[in-house]
């Protein structure tokens, strides 16, 4: 029996329709169900980013004071080191779980009709997340973030004609300065969230509309043999458990391995010997370095950049060449393509770390 208050609210808000949906919604249960949780885990890390990001905004000052303010957050403000460490760790764990989510949906063929736009929006979200990471990396203005950004912003400069103009415009000058920090700050806290959140809502709305994708092995079973569990409370509880595990892992990493802060960026000092970007850019960093070695001059970097973008375009278009519901030649090719991408990314990333001199 519902209370008069509940009835009064429901008449105005109509939430019982949502509750109905939640109680009747079923989620498939099978041997690959484990991979269903990674989207939720990514979302969890995103909410942690928003929360800790707002907290960091309270003390962070962009521009010329950036390094001093991050220093004060890390060393003066109570638990500032923990909030900052949680933000950085959460960013990395979010991108890692987004990669797991992307590759699991890829190999389970979740991009097929009618879920193409889930695939596209997911890739847009990942790319935006990487821009989030790139812009956030500069904000502390320590030596590593300064030089990593210098290298990163040097990449568009190899584009013929407009390249240097783009790089200067993004930097707000010929070199990285307080202006660059302010630009990246505006991007990081205003522009990117404004782009990210609508795409995220589209992504979540589409998964609600289409439901969880069934892997080919489940689709081969007759409908009566497929098992499901109720979304609420069964799946929601499991999701919550996954979030709790994610929170514990995050808390462990953030507290036991506090995010470091290097010495202040100094434009007159040479770049640190172990200069490198975040791990999720390591593969492209290494590929660009290799191409630069193989083909000297700007053309080498240009070729590396082109190869990377070609791979990305093929990756985005995979729902079009593997659209069949059942397995076929294209389905196998897509799987091999995916394995090759994972292999190349892992190999070049490990290579990139292996050749770093150990100076820290």
């Amino acid at each position: 029996m519902r209370s008069p208050l509940a009835r009064w609210l429901d008449e105005r808000l109509g939430y019982s329709a949502l509750l109905e949906l939640a109680t009747h919604k079923q989620v498939p249960e099978h041997k690959y169900s484990f991979w269903y949780y990674w989207g939720g885990i990514t979302l969890f890390f995103f909410t942690v980013m928003c929360f800790t990001g707002v907290l960091l905004l309270l003390y962070y000052r962009p521009g010329d004071e950036a390094y001093q303010s991050v220093r004060s957050i890390t060393y003066d403000i109570q638990f500032g080191w923990l909030i900052r460490s949680t933000h950085s760790w959460s960013a990395n764990l979010m991108i890692a779980s987004a990669f797991v989510h992307m590759f699991s949906t890829f190999f389970l063929k979740a991009y097929r009709r009618p879920r193409e736009f889930l695939w596209f929006s997911g890739i847009v979200l990942l790319l935006l997340a990487m821009v989030f990471g790139f812009s956030g990396y500069l904000l502390p203005m320590d030596d590593l973030s300064y030089f990593a950004t210098k290298v990163g912003l040097g990449i568009p400069a190899v584009i013929p004609m407009v390249g240097p103009w783009i790089s200067n415009l993004v930097r707000g000058g010929p070199d990285i300065s307080g202006f660059t920090v302010s630009r990246f700050f505006a991007l990081h806290v205003v522009v990117l969230p404004a782009l990210f959140i609508p795409v995220l809502l589209l992504h979540l709305g589409l998964i609600q509309k289409h439901g969880m994708s069934l892997p080919p092995s489940e689709l081969d079973k007759p409908e009566g043999k497929r098992k499901t569990i109720p979304f609420f409370p069964n799946f929601a509880m499991k999701d919550l458990a996954a979030w709790l595990i994610a929170l514990n892992v995050l808390a462990f990493c953030a507290a036991v391995f506090p995010w470091p802060l290097g010495p202040a960026a100094d434009a007159l000092k040479p770049a640190p010997m172990d200069i490198h970007p975040e791990w999720y850019f390591m593969s492209s960093f290494e590929v660009l370095k290799l191409f630069g070695k193989w083909i000297p001059g700007e053309f080498g970097e240009f070729a590396g950049l082109g190869l990377f973008n070609l791979g990305l375009v093929l990756w985005v278009l995979v729902p079009f060449f593997d659209a069949e519901r059942r397995s076929g030649a294209w389905a196998r090719r897509a799987t091999w393509f995916g394995l090759a991408v994972v292999g190349i990314l892992l190999f070049t990333t490990i290579w990139g770390y292996a050749v770093l001199p150990a100076v820290r």
């Binding site: 907290l55 003066d76 109570q78 638990f79 923990l82 909030i83 709790l244």
Partner: protein, 159 residues
């Protein structure tokens, strides 16, 4: 309606009790997590308040050039976080007072022509020798600090 009555023997109340225990355990765990997450967040937010409170604990301030202050004028300085004033009287004596009006916290100023401390916000007046409230809304005198000249410097300390 008798058919709606549930037989209340021990076996029926057991799962109910288990439910209550489950809810209690979930509540305790939830509260523990909320506390573990909430405590650092609270301290983080309260950090400037704590810093200000610690700085407010200042016992004394050394004013290097205070002795150059002309007679019948005041030097404004900060005692910890709070504005304060050092008054050089005509008879070469010194008075150090809090410059925070005891009415609503405005910063007061010394008026050499009237030899009075005046608060422009609501017209409160104080005696520049003792900090006593003379007129207007202030309910209490201004806090007075001890002054001492050591090695050509003015040392102002908590009375």
């Amino acid at each position: 309606m008798p058919e709606e009555k549930i037989p209340s023997d021990a076996s029926a109340s057991d799962p109910e009790r288990r439910d209550i225990l489950k809810f209690a355990a979930a509540g305790v765990l939830g509260a523990a997590y909320a506390g573990l997450v909430g405590y650092p967040v609270y301290r983080y937010l309260a950090s400037p308040v704590e810093t200000a409170a610690a700085e407010g604990q200042v016992k004394q301030v050394v004013l290097d050039d205070a002795l150059k202050t002309p007679r019948n004028s005041a030097l404004m300085f900060k005692f910890g976080q709070n504005p304060a004033m050092l008054i050089h009287h005509d008879d070469d004596t010194w008075t150090a007072l809090s410059a925070v009006c005891t009415h609503l916290g405005c910063t007061v100023g010394y008026q050499p022509d009237k030899k009075i401390i005046f608060c422009p916000c609501h017209g409160g007046t104080y005696d520049p020798n003792s900090g006593a409230n003379l007129g207007g809304p202030p309910p209490k005198p201004l806090a007075e600090y001890k002054t001492q000249i050591a090695n050509g410097k003015m040392v102002v300390s908590r009375a």
